[in-house]
């Protein structure tokens, strides 16, 4: 299962509000996260495990 922390930016960050102070009080963190560490079905080119 793959969760993306920011599935939809429109939901997470609807619009810039008319006051923007929140912008400089935080920095964005984008994550790709998966509870399980699994091998994909196909390996990338050039990899032998």
């Amino acid at each position: 299962m793959i969760l993306q922390v920011i599935p939809s930016l429109s939901a997470a960050l609807p619009v810039r509000s008319f006051t923007g102070a929140a912008d400089y009080c935080a920095y964005p963190v984008a994550s790709m996260e998966s509870e399980a560490l699994v091998l994909p079905e196909t390996l990338p080119p050039g990899v032998t495990l």
């Binding site: 008319f18 509870e35 050039g46």
Partner: protein, 489 residues
Amino acid sequence: MKATRQLLIGSTWQAGEGEAFTKHDPVSDERLWEGAAATEAQVDAAVAAARDAFPAWARTAFDERQALVERFRGVLERHREDLATAIAQETGKPLWEARTEVGAMIGKVAISIRAYQERTGERSRDLGDATAVLRHRPHGVMAVYGPYNFPGHLPNGHMVPALLAGNTVVFKPSEQTPLTADLTLQCWQEAGLPEGVINLVQGAAGTGQALSANPGIDGLLFTGSARVGGLLHRQFADQLDKILALELGGNNPLVVKDVPDQEAAVLTILQSAFLSGGQRCTCARRLIVPEGQVGDHLLDALSDAISRLRVAGQFSDPAPFYAGLVSVAAADGLLKAQDDLEALGGTVLARMVRVEPGTSLLSPALIDVSGLPVPDEEHFGPLLKVHRYRDWDEALRLANDTRYGLSAGLIGGERGDWDDFLLRIRAGIVNWNRQTTGASGDAPFGGVGESGNHRPSAYYAADYCAYPVASMESDDLHLPDQLPPGVIL
């Protein structure tokens, strides 16, 4: 497509009048591009052409600006293979990977249109007798500096949002990738680029310095090294009228908490550290591994997989995992970095060697530097340092022991460990059980520390391409029912 080997100033292709330079394929040594750099006078002319084009372009309706970038997308689709071939030749990356770069350029158009509307755009609120309106306006002339590792995708990630917002551009690509820039500008022209809206100045540091020092630019968008980024930051420190967006490097940690699946862990490490031969700013540079048997086994399995990793020319069949570094000189630098780490006391677990003489093809290095005072440098190639740790707090301390803060990753652990990692790690891209490379264009891209100047790119590129204008407006001027205290009319 065929290279012009020239500069584009206004609507005129013209030969550079500065220092001559050439670009060779770093694996085959084929000459790909030769021409001359833009002189200071030619840079001035390019900025002037962008300035002349700006008022009309900024007034052009958004729909028309959007139509241009959508036509550009269509041109990219038609020239997909030409561009991918040029990118593979110039950067040394395998053809399969260069094709994904052109795919990212194509995908950038839809993402940037959505980001323009969501991050900037226009919105209003009815206040009864007036309307509060928020609009965004372009800065003017943006200087865009491209890096050599993604010579198509990364400058494109600045230029498409800049144009959508109504800016005009002077583009200075890396002197190591003049061909990709040359072909990209031809694609823009084929899409109907109006005169002066994007100008191309080729050249190395001298051209870059002439552009950054030009008083006619309103902003500078730079992707490249922390060293040059730091110089630009100091240069712009007392120029409050200009916007500066820096995307710099990282000395990125990948922390192994435990190893639920050894093969999957090895693959995640290979993909994090050695994708593109380590020539991605999100590549893991430091592997932080627990002391003891689990860590020992993982490092054995990793060394074993490294010995079987296929490194070969960009166009080889079967395809390599990665191919050349951008230049033979870059490869020499990586070999020297390995020597330096070994001289400091590092234990080489997998030795980097040049795969074919005279090329930039390098096998991966895995070097245990636990407990050694190694410099906090980004080695931009297939070199992964190992740090062993005793407990979780030490792992986090090691992970954060860098002046940078671009990407970080965690392998293994439970949800609680991940939550703790997320709270304590200092980075802008933080992944769990996923490779550190391969950021999504749907998300902002940037980091903390010396990885940038807090102007994240990708989805947030729209932010630095425009400034907000807040208005209170009413189409009739009338006297309020009540006058303020002290006023008699």
